[in-house]
């Protein structure tokens, strides 16, 4: 996170650029969706009455508030200061992908394999790929995690397996 002297530390920006706060719009809409979803889901649980609130009471109120706030935020964002949604796609895919691969392989292929694969995939997130370096790091991580977690902490996962 690089820092220009006067830039990111302005506690008050001098002017607001006209445009839409896309982040606010997107986030607000997500909140509305989540709120509505949970609101519908909460109706399955009894609300009870005020003196004896049921399991549905709290989530119902919360989900309604979330949805309403989400809508308000989206509307404000229509006029809000201009922001964009910067997405670092390559690192994002690499890292989330790495975790997904870990999820898929840990129970099927063992700890060492899972660590090796996820380290390798996440190193692909770096702009100039250093393949040899990544391989070395991946192997080192696999070895260390087996040492620390299987021998040290005794977690019940085999280092390598074939389990489909």
């Amino acid at each position: 996170m690089s820092l220009e002297s006067s830039q990111s530390l302005d506690l008050v920006s001098d002017e607001t650029s006209p445009g839409r706060d896309w982040g606010g719009i997107a986030g607000g809409l997500c909140l509305v969706a989540i709120g509505v979803f949970f609101c519908i889901a909460s109706t399955a649980y009894p609300v009870g009455h005020v003196a004896r609130i049921g399991p549905g009471f709290f989530p119902l109120i919360l989900s309604v508030l979330v949805a309403v706030l989400g809508a308000v935020i989206s509307i404000i964002a229509l006029k809000g200061p201009k922001t964009s949604i910067p997405v670092a796609w390559r690192p994002f895919v690499a890292i989330i992908g790495a975790v997904l691969v870990f999820y898929l392989t840990i129970d099927r292929l063992g700890l060492a394999t899972a660590v090796f694969l996820s380290v390798l995939i996440s190193s692909l997130g770096e702009r100039p790929t250093h393949l040899v370096r990544s391989l070395v790091v991946a192997i080192a991580c696999a070895v260390i995690s087996v040492a620390v977690f299987i021998y040290g902490l005794q977690i019940p996962v085999p280092p390598v397996q074939w389990n489909f």
Partner: protein, 507 residues
């Protein structure tokens, strides 16, 4: 038990070999992640959560706390040498620290920040010793309505001061509270929002949420920025010796920074980061020659560093005395205690005096260790900065994955990592603050429980909550906070309202 007995108990607890060792590991790790940009204290604390399962409660919290305040020491190193903050609360140190380095005074800057951090930390510990027990005694008369009001106010206050739009922060708090509802509801035994998934019966695992929300997005973002600068300034032990003029200028600044940090650290929501901005601004305003700031004014380096360390220590006052965390990191540390079956709150000091006082004395020992680590061993940290981020990032990812998995031996937790990693990254890019989400998530079940009990007590009469003196005051404060949030959002919408520029990721 009088104060000397307590301190003695604390010292004997803290000096136990295992606790000493864990303290050392904590502060070492803390400095390490503080030095390195791209990994923060909170991500590290969440990654260490699974390892705390195997430890005694005292040791676990000693280590996690060590990471927390240790990172406040290391953060300034990257700020001074690279113009890149190692942690959010060291961002301000870049402003005058880097110019000092360019003037060949990097060593002095590093030395003075370490010294200032030590003074700040010490003062914070002192305040902690003075105030926490008293606060706990006051809180003994707290019942459900008071707790409800306190937590509500704490959440709202944290939201209103977090970076960016307060409205977005409040929304995140609410979302966190909502996520906290997932799982078995204690009173009725009903499974809420589990949709048949067995693994969700106990709620969403804290480890997966914390790591997903804080660890992964930070790595993604830093990888995306592709900064791989190397420090160009030589730092030798001799170059660290300050001139008398430096010391004279720094004394006042250090004490002022300490004062600000101590005060702000106690309040919920405000943490080291905000304290540093305020300290810097105060120094600039009080200086005889404000134009020096931005060009290597040592006060601008020393004051923020003192304040963030002071704030890091006093943040434990509400956490330990009341059981109400003021920031996401504190919430996770509390979570660690809860995982060990220890109920935080005013009773902690009386029921587990060894934990409370042992922790405080470990802070003292930790700060001393940090002083040693940060001055003679500074060369080691500078060398760390040479590690390319492309190597660090995958290691962090591997650690996060294995950590999440090992918490419950469940690959489902890894899937949750994916979900919350996406949520956390999306929130960041949409400019919604993430710490309030975690705060809400951790406090959610407690908030609901206290609400239920209060309403039961009052037989449905909401007004009763306002009539009781303490809860009434807190609720009024909470309402004022809500009004403030609404007001600022309204202003933003109807005119060219100034919007605070988003700062670095909060504590």
């Amino acid at each position: 038990m009088d104060i000397y007995d307590s301190l003695a108990l604390g010292l004997t607890t803290a000096m136990q070999p295992m606790n000493l060792w864990l303290c050392f590991i904590g502060v070492l790790l803390g400095t390490f992640v503080g030095v390195l940009p791209g990994i923060g204290a909170i991500a590290t604390i969440s990654m260490l959560l699974p390892t705390t399962f195997y430890l005694e409660p005292v040791g676990a919290v000693v280590m996690l706390a060590g990471v927390y305040y240790g990172s406040e020491y290391g953060g300034s190193i990257a700020s001074i040498l690279l113009h890149l903050p190692g942690s959010a609360s060291s961002a301000v140190t870049c402003l005058d620290g880097y110019p000092m380095a360019k003037q060949g005074r990097a060593g002095v800057a590093l030395f003075m920040t370490a010294a200032a951090s030590f003074v700040g930390g010490l003062a914070g510990i002192f305040v902690l010793i003075l105030f926490a027990p008293t606060l706990a005694r006051v809180a003994f008369s707290f019942q459900s309505p008071e707790y409800f009001a306190l937590m509500l106010f704490g959440l709202l206050a944290a939201a209103s001061v977090s970076s960016g739009s307060p409205l977005k922060a409040v929304a995140m708090v609410l979302l966190g509270l909502l996520f906290g509802c997932i799982g078995t509801e204690v009173n009725s035994g009903m499974n809420r929002f589990t949709f048949g998934q067995l693994e969700l019966y106990d709620g969403i695992g804290l480890v997966a949420v914390a790591m997903g929300l804080f660890g992964l997005p930070e790595v993604i973002q830093t990888l995306g920025e592709g900064t791989d600068q190397q420090p160009r300034f030589k730092v030798t032990l001799r170059s660290m010796v300050p001139k008398w003029a430096d010391i004279r200028q720094s004394i006042g600044a250090t004490f002022r920074g300490t004062g600000i940090g101590v005060a702000l650290g106690v309040l919920p929501g405000t943490g080291g980061t905000i304290a540093t901005y305020i300290s810097y601004a105060a120094e600039k305003r009080l200086a005889k020659d404000p134009s020096r700031f931005g060009n290597g004014a040592i006060e601008g380096v020393v004051s923020p560093e003192a304040s963030n360390n002071a704030a890091a220590q006093t943040a434990f006052v509400p956490t330990l005395a009341l059981g109400v965390p003021g920031s996401a990191s504190m919430a996770i540390i509390l979570g660690a205690l809860m995982l060990h079956g220890i109920q935080p709150g005013p009773a902690l000091i009386t029921n587990h005096p060894d934990i409370f006082w042992g922790l405080i004395m470990s802070f003292l020992l930790g700060n001393i260790m940090l002083l040693v680590l940060n001055i003679p061993l500074i060369g080691m940290w500078v060398r760390m900065l040479h590690i390319p981020y492309g190597v660090l990032a995958p290691i962090v990812v591997a650690f996060v994955c294995v950590g999440a998995y090992s918490a419950d031996n469940s690959s489902f937790d890894v899937l949750l990592l994916v979900v919350f990693g996406v949520v956390g990254y999306a929130a960041r890019q949409f400019d919604f603050p993430v710490p309030p989400l975690l705060l809400g998530f951790i406090l959610g079940p407690l908030l609901e429980e206290n609400l239920r009990r209060s309403l039961l007590l009052a037989r449905g009469d909401f007004g009763m909550l306002f009539l009781r003196p303490i809860s009434g005051t807190l609720l009024v404060l909470a309402s004022i906070t809500i009004a403030y949030v609404v007001f600022t959002s309204f202003r933003q919408m109807t005119q060219d309202g100034a919007v605070p520029r988003p700062a670095a990721e909060g504590s």
